[in-house]
Chain length 217, copies 2
């Protein structure tokens, strides 16, 4: 039986191809026939191995998205552990770098953000899954780290809004690549991504960098 993907099982090939297609087109725009064709297996394989299409979609988040998110979280943690002292600048840079120049390949990155962006805009069971198991713990940990370098007495909400904002910028500059390149007019190559990390870091630390002016009344 000819199998192009080395010794991957049918289950694994289905998950791989399903993730690519779901990320690219969204759940409803992808058919089971399209997935099984890409995975080079029979149409019935999805139902045999996963029960139905919906469950294959959930399994993509369980067995592909969540572990990758945890890898990213580890990457950030290791970057910070390598610092001799903890600073806000180091933290922001570690996040931006992990998510834009981190351990993920170009394609993996794009898939990762497209999948979660769809879920954030219109959550399904998959969002509940990764929010509970991955996102909330990661956010909490980052917020606790940030607390130690922010002015004392900052409310929990402000703290979370700051973390959400940093994460939001990273997410935005990833999922909105097409829009960004349309507006700026350049490719997402290695050089531009480095400049982007620099920009996100700067912006998250100092905003526009010109402080708040009093408005005349």
């Amino acid at each position: 039986m000819a199998r192009n993907d080395q010794n991957h099982t049918t289950q694994e090939r289905l998950l791989n191809e399903a993730e690519i297609l779901f990320a690219e087109k969204g759940y409803h725009a992808v058919s089971v026939r399209e997935i099984t064709k890409a995975a080079d297996c029979n149409l019935a394989a999805v139902n045999y191995h996963f029960g139905n299409k919906q469950n294959l979609y959930l399994e993509v988040f369980r067995s592909r998205w969540a572990p990758r998110a945890r890898r990213l979280q580890e990457h950030v943690k290791n970057s910070l552990a390598a610092q001799s002292h903890f600073s806000a600048a180091a933290m922001v840079k570690a996040i931006a770098q992990a998510f834009l120049e981190g351990p993920l390949s170009e394609d993996e990155q794009l898939r990762h953000y497209q999948l979660i962006t769809r879920e954030m805009a219109h959550p399904t069971e998959a969002f509940e899954l990764v929010a509970k198991d991955v996102m909330r713990p990661a956010f909490r940990e980052l917020a606790d780290g940030l607390r130690s370098v922010m002015p004392e007495g900052m409310s929990e909400e402000r703290l979370m809004l700051n973390i959400l904002s940093i994460f939001g910028m990273v997410l935005y500059f990833n999922f909105a690549r097409v829009a960004v390149t349309h507006m700026i007019g350049c490719q997402y190559d290695q050089a531009f991504k480095a400049r982007l990390v620099e920009h996100i870091t700067d912006f998250s630390l100092t905003g526009l960098g010109i402080g708040k002016e009093e408005e005349p009344r």
Copy 2:
């Protein structure tokens, strides 16, 4: 012939209901039957008035999204014109306020951002349409305004990245409502939106507000 929506024409009712449904579920997850049922008209009406489903989708962006985006742009422009002198703080606040507490109703806002978020993550012909006619001109105008209050000689790219970042934060806090409320644990009521405007303004102006620290080496 009983028509519930006052004197709206079938075309208008189709556009209204189509926008609501496309924003809520996305193009492929909405059927023509669902739209025509919501608009209380015959199944064939979509093809009669718009040719096909795809063209109805495009017409939603042409005749509903684009004018609303222009209304928002006007709102920002008027807010700024009311200022006696132009400042970065005023500009950021005008943008955040227009997009979160501006002329749009709660529902309109949600629809507006869900539609464009889908297009940014996976652009179709509709994105080309509104990018060329609405978004690019608006971004250019904002960048020109920002240039006058930023240090001289700032590169065009940095200028655009700043504008994109402000816009990105606003977009993010709108389309990712569900995620934000999941993480923070509160509703998007009027009070929270006001705090959000304050946060976005502060963050865009001063970031975390603790400057950039030197990393030890």
